[in-house]
Every structure is written in structure tokens, then in C-alpha cells.
Amino acid sequence: MKILLIEDEVQLAQTIISCLQQEGYVCEWAKTLDEAEEKIYIYAYDCALIDLTLPGGSGLQLLELLKQGHPETGIIIISAKNSLDDKIKGLDLGADDYMTKPFHLAELNSRIKSLIRRRKFGGNQEIVFSEICILPDEQVVTVHDNRVVLTKKEYDLLLFFISNKNRVLTKEAIAEHLWGDHSDMLDSFDFIYSHIKNLRKKLEEKGAMDYIQTVYGAGYKFSLR
């Protein structure tokens, strides 16, 4: 999977690149509008992450270029501008998603995965983590072929965990993924914990191993023991 990152902030770009490389993506980086245009002309990518404010112009210009040359590339806008106008404009021009800085790396990772899944496999690809199997199209989860009945939030939580397996997820990142902008209204972290507990219980009932580890002082991690 090849990802093009178009971002002028060096440090931010480096953190994103190293995170994406850990996930096994091939990541290329363009710092300016010109560099980005050159790369878009020459190569094809599965996904492009575009910052809107770039030296040389607005990242919105790249959207059209991508739509013409490589309509199969998934596009996520990453912008510090939390402006509704920009969001609407970006999505109108064909972006698949819009993320406002600062965002959680886990969130970026999960959105890239979901985008590639939608684009490449039409959402039909099964997601398998040892005995747990997820059918994203039908939002169905099975353990050893037995169906697990989850609430919408529990399902989202599981998918978020599996998309970010082996990563420590902070409670903030989880809350923001599940409740978006409203997450700061729910300051009770016991609440997140109770959700995780319920998910764990439902999976174990069907015979799954407990893959959710508590990393003391940091958050939770989904991984093989």
C-alpha cells in the first residue's frame, strides 16, 4: 500500500511517516505544492494525505489533479483550519475525509484503513484477527464463526482496536474516535472503561481470548499476548 503525504511541517510529517511505516505502508512525502504535483504526475498512490496550507498554494488544487489523473486514489485532507467552509469545499472537490489538526495518529491510521478498505475492496474484505472476524459491510462480528451481538459503539471500538493493533491507544483517542467533537463533554473515563469491559465480556463469552491490555498510565493496547 502506497501513501503520499503532502505536509510542509517537517516534524509533523516525520511522526506521521514513522507511524505509517510501522503499520507497513510505503510512505512518500512531498513538502511543497510543486513536489506534490510532480509525484502525482509520475506515480500512483492508494491514498493521499493533503495539508491545505502549503508553500506555493492551497492543497485544494491538488484534489482536481488527483481526481483527473488517479481517480482511484483515496484522499484525506489534514488541515489546521477547522473552518466549515473549507471542509465543505474539500469534500465537494472529491476528498473522502477531512481531519482537523491536532488529530490522534491512531485516528489517522484507522481512517486510512477504512478508506483503503472501501476503495480497494468495496468494504467486502473480511478483517481477521486470530479467531475474531469482522465483516465491515454488514457490520457483523464473529468469534469461531459464532455471531457476537455488539452495540454500534462497541463495534466501532473493536474495529478501532483491530485497526490499531499493537498500538497503545489513549482514552482520549478512543473517546474522540467514538464520540467525535462531543468527546470533551464526557469527561468520565470510567465510562470508556465500562465500554471496554463490556466489549471484552461479549468477546470472551463467545470464546475469544482477551486481547485488550491495560497499559498502566497510558491507555489500552490490542495485541496477541
Binding site: 516534524q11 509533523l12 489546521a80 491536532p102 463533554m185 468520565s188 497510558a218
Partner: protein
């Protein structure tokens, strides 16, 4: 008072004064003219009499039918010539009328005569009355004409001004009006100044808007770097518990900082009037949508929610601000309501009441809507939620009040 009425009053006062002085001057002038004329008449008559006497050496025939009467009285000595005004009884009218009398000596071959001549004078009262009457009439006519002229003027001359005023009333930041050039110098100057003013407002508004967007960009990017680095840091398994706790604390503060920044920017955007797409929104749908994200936390905290929303109640405001306002009010109630508590949401025409059970405030109620006025300190709260609600209510001229009654915190929005 209308500008034209005011100028009308001034014109009236001035013309009254002018007519009055004019009348006095007119009166004095006419009466002196008449006086002179009578003296002249008497003089001519006297001269004619004397020349007659010189030519014929006899007294002329006297007549009483003439405008003046001439009589001769034989005297023993030559009289002094004199002119006096006197009143004589008019036998025809049976009243005393003013006359001017001249007495002069006439000598015919040694005999002395006193010639007495009377000339009737115009009564001063009559003259005065006539002048006053004509003045009164002209003033009246002037007033009537001025009334109609001012009506006509206000309609034609002030038409462009009224149009400008009408344009100004509908003006806002979003749709600044353009005032076209007009041939009347004063109004044209007004239009030019207004255009300049609106242009300046527009520029300032734009730069303010740009500033908040730039501030957002310039501050969020370093924050994103800090946060992402800390997040990567947390991945290291080799971290000791103390190190991890420190990283985690820094990470939490960064999160808070980012949220405060976002709320402050939203506040300044509201202050800059960047949300003015007013629509009629169904309150019930807004409340349902506002409640949805809290579904899980309600179940978790075992809160009882009593929702009574009258259908078809509409609120007129920007949709995004409506969402922010309700989300903050509801979030506030759910957050501060203790476990197993009750939250009541009632909505009827023009009134929204959101109340939650809970212990009394530990900050003064009047500080509740201030920025960064936080009660039971929680690290997650930005202290800006209710300030945002207040700002949004003020923008829309809603009335927002808080009270604490029988164990319930009650927020009322009158819209």
C-alpha cells in the same frame, strides 16, 4: 421633529418679523407721503387764491363742495400764517373728522382778511387697519403655499436620502450595500463616505477573520506535533511507570490546550459575526440530535431524562450555533448530574428549560457564564462551554438565565 417642519418654522418666524417691520416702515412712509401731499394741496390752493387776489383785487368765490373749504374772515390786523391739525364735526356723518387747517393773510386794497382753509386728513386708524389686513392675508397665503411646497420638496428632494436610509437599515457585514453616485452634491458626499466606511469595515472584518484562522493554523500545527510525539512516546514499552505517567500528564494538558484554543477561536468567530445564516429550525429535531451522542453516558450514569418538547416549536438561528448551544447545555447538564440523577428538558413556544439535579454550585451564580469560571474542577472541562452558550444567546437576542431551585440547576433560554 421633521427637518422640513423645523425649517418651515424658521421661515415662518423670519417672514413674520419681516412683514411686521415692513408694515411699520410702510405705514410711516405712507403717512408721511400723505402728509406731504396734503401740505402741497393746501399750498397750491393758497397760491391760487393769492394770485387771484393779485390779479382781480377781489376775493374769489368760496365753495364748500370742494375737498377743501375756503372762507374769508375780515380782520383788523394782518394775521400770522399758521398750519394746524384739528377735529371738525362733520354735519353729514355726525362725527368728528380730522382736518388740516391753514390760516393765511389776504390783503385787498387796505382791508385785511384771514383766509381759512380746511383739508380732510385720512384717518390713521383706517390706514393702519388696511395695512394690517393686507399683511395678515399675505402671511396666510404664504403659510399655505409653504406647506404644500414643503410636502412636495420632501417628496422629491429627500427621496434619494430616504432611499439611502432604507439601504442602510438592511445593511450587514455579509451584504454590504453599494451607494451609487447621485447628482446632488451633499447626498453624493454622503454616499461616497458611506461607501468608504463600509469598505473599511469589510477590510477590518476580513483581517480579523483571517487572524483567527491564521492563529488557529499556526497554533494547532505545533500542538499537533507535540501531541503526536507524545502519543508515539507512549508506544515505547521500555518506559518506566513514572516516565509514562509524566508523558501522559503532558499529553492530557496538550489535549486540553487544544480544546481551549478551539473554543476560544469559536468564541471569537461568533463575536466576529461569522455565523449569521439564520434558519427556522425545528426544536424537537435539534434536541433529539443533541441528545444522541450522550446515549451511552446516560445509560452508564443511570440518568433519568424527562423530555417534553412541544412539536412544531421553531427556533430562528444559525444551524451550527444551534448545535453548539444545545450540545453545551445538554452536555453541561449530563456532566454535572450525579449518578442516578434526573435531567429534565422542556421545550414550549419560545422557552427551553434544561435542568439537572445536583448539589448547589460552589461558585457564585452570576459568574457561571464567565469564561474559565469552573465549579468542581475537572481536568477535562475547558471552562468555556457556558460562556459559549451565553455568547450565542446574546448574538441571537435570546435571554439566558440560571437558577437553583429545590435541588435542581435550571437553565432557561427564552428565544
Amino acid at each position: 421633529m421633521n427637518l422640513l417642519t423645523k425649517t418651515g418654522y424658521y421661515y415662518l418666524a423670519i417672514s413674520f418679523f419681516l412683514f411686521l417691520t415692513g408694515g411699520i416702515v410702510f405705514y410711516l412712509y405712507i403717512s408721511s407721503l400723505l402728509d406731504e401731499e396734503i401740505n402741497e394741496q393746501l399750498d397750491i390752493a393758497k397760491k391760487r387764491t393769492l394770485s387771484y387776489v393779485r390779479e382781480y383785487h377781489a376775493l374769489p368765490a368760496t365753495s364748500t363742495l370742494d375737498s377743501y373749504t375756503l372762507t374769508f374772515i375780515p380782520v383788523t390786523y394782518s394775521v400770522q400764517e399758521s398750519v394746524i391739525d384739528t377735529l371738525l364735526l362733520s354735519p353729514l356723518l355726525d362725527e368728528q373728522l380730522p382736518y388740516r387747517r391753514i390760516i393765511f393773510p389776504v390783503d385787498i386794497s387796505g382791508s385785511h382778511y384771514a383766509a381759512i382753509m380746511h383739508q380732510p386728513l385720512i384717518e390713521k386708524d383706517d390706514l393702519l387697519q388696511a395695512i394690517l389686513k393686507s399683511l395678515a392675508w399675505s402671511t396666510l397665503i404664504l403659510v399655505v403655499i409653504m406647506f404644500f411646497v414643503s410636502r412636495w420638496l420632501s417628496y422629491t428632494l429627500w427621496k434619494p436620502f430616504n432611499k439611502t436610509l432604507h439601504q442602510l437599515k438592511g445593511a450587514g457585514i455579509q451584504d454590504t450595500p453599494h451607494f451609487p453616485p447621485i447628482p446632488i452634491t451633499e447626498f453624493n458626499a454622503l454616499h461616497e463616505e458611506l461607501n468608504r466606511l463600509f469598505q473599511r469595515i469589510q477590510t477590518q472584518y476580513k483581517s480579523l477573520k483571517e487572524f483567527s484562522e491564521n492563529a488557529s493554523h499556526e497554533l494547532q500545527t505545533p500542538l499537533a506535533i507535540i501531541r503526536n510525539n507524545l502519543e508515539s512516546f507512549l508506544q515505547y514499552e521500555s518506559l518506566t511507570t513514572v516516565e509514562r505517567t509524566k508523558v501522559r500528564e503532558t499529553y492530557e494538558s496538550t489535549n486540553r490546550l487544544s480544546r481551549i484554543l478551539q473554543s476560544l477561536l469559536l468564541l471569537s468567530k461568533i463575536e466576529n459575526l461569522q455565523f449569521v445564516n439564520v434558519h427556522a429550525l425545528p426544536m424537537r429535531d435539534l434536541l433529539d440530535a443533541g441528545m444522541r451522542p450522550f446515549k451511552e453516558i446516560l445509560a452508564f450514569k443511570n440518568l433519568t431524562v424527562e423530555l417534553h418538547a412541544k412539536p412544531d416549536t421553531m427556533i430562528h438561528m444559525d444551524p451550527y450555533l444551534a448545535e453548539v448551544m444545545l450540545s453545551n447545555l445538554l452536555g453541561n447538564a449530563f456532566r454535572h448530574c450525579p449518578n442516578d440523577g434526573t435531567v429534565r428538558v422542556e421545550c414550549s413556544d419560545h422557552t427551553l428549560t434544561i435542568s439537572n439535579s445536583g448539589p448547589p454550585l460552589d461558585i457564585p451564580a452570576e459568574r457561571l457564564f464567565d469564561r474559565f469560571a469552573k465549579g468542581n474542577v475537572s481536568i477535562e472541562s475547558t471552562g468555556l462551554g457556558l460562556a459559549l452558550v451565553k455568547q450565542i444567546s446574546d448574538l441571537n437576542n435570546f435571554q439566558l438565565t440560571y437558577s437553583y431551585q429545590s435541588g435542581y440547576h435550571k437553565f432557561v433560554v427564552l428565544f
